[in-house]
Amino acid sequence: MPITYYLILSAILFVLGIAGMLIRRNAIVVFMSMEMMFNAANLLFVAYASYYQILTGQLFVFFVMTVAAAEVAIGLALIVAIYRNRKQIDVDDMSSLKG
């Protein structure tokens, strides 16, 4: 099975992640879309690791997963804090820093 299948699948997954991130207004859905984009990148890493029969790609997946878990923990803590202050998590309304 050619690697192109995985490349196309990863591209579609990444693009859908960008779409969800830009279209939706709920901050948690934005985070989920970000996870999807991380997964698309991981899929690409693993596909190339399998293609070149080399382990480095899989090790990068390990580190990407670590950073993704860290990002989600901080992000959800921030969302909970924002929700406590403002009673909503609409990304369009988070514009306090706008001039």
């Binding site: 830009l22 985070f31 899929l43 997946v61 901080i74």
Partner: protein, 174 residues
């Protein structure tokens, strides 16, 4: 068309369907369940690519930890957004459609002339399990010991920071 290709196409369809439903589903709880389906599809794809260890790690870390964490986030912010009707999508959604179409076209065009893209991957069963190589690479100073230790420090810092950010200093009125 081999059995591997049929399995791949089914799993890819399920994964992309779940991803599409994340972007369009109206109810938050359903969105999380679609996310779990998508992550599961990616785990199966990892298994198809002989990355057995990362297939298991995907289920453990993404579905077991991250999806559950997001589920808690959804429950804690429950009243905030009834994702329905007009408020579901941004009003400039057609700009987004154009942007992602251009991006996808750019990706496809950029991988098109790559000559090696059509050679088949190594089939399942003729690949040795690299789990011991993986473990040795993570503790070898010449390989990935430093990134491994840095990522563990990162996780510790994130744990402290998440508790610090999310703690309710006023005593839980809300």
């Amino acid at each position: 068309m081999t059995a591997m290709q049929i399995i791949f196409l089914i799993v890819a369809a399920v994964t992309l369907g779940g991803a599409l439903m994340i972007a369009t589903s109206r109810r938050m709880m359903h969105t999380v369940l679609w996310l779990v389906l998508t992550l599961m599809g990616v785990a199966v794809l990892f298994a198809l690519l002989q990355a057995n260890f990362f297939s298991v790690v995907q289920v453990l870390v993404y579905i077991g930890a991250i999806a559950i964490l997001i589920l808690f986030g959804v429950m804690l912010t429950r009243r905030s957004m009834v994702d329905a009707g007009e408020s579901l999508v941004h009003k400039n959604w057609w700009v987004v459609a154009v942007v992602i179409a251009l991006l996808f076209a750019a990706i496809v065009i950029s991988i098109q002339p790559w000559g090696a893209a059509h050679t088949p991957l190594v089939e399942l069963m003729e690949f040795k399990e690299p789990i011991s190589d993986l473990g040795e690479a993570l503790v070898d100073p010449a390989a990935y010991l430093i990134p491994f230790e840095v990522s563990s420090v990162l996780l510790l810092a994130v744990m402290v920071a998440a508790i610090y950010i999310a703690v309710d200093r006023k005593g839980g009125k809300s």
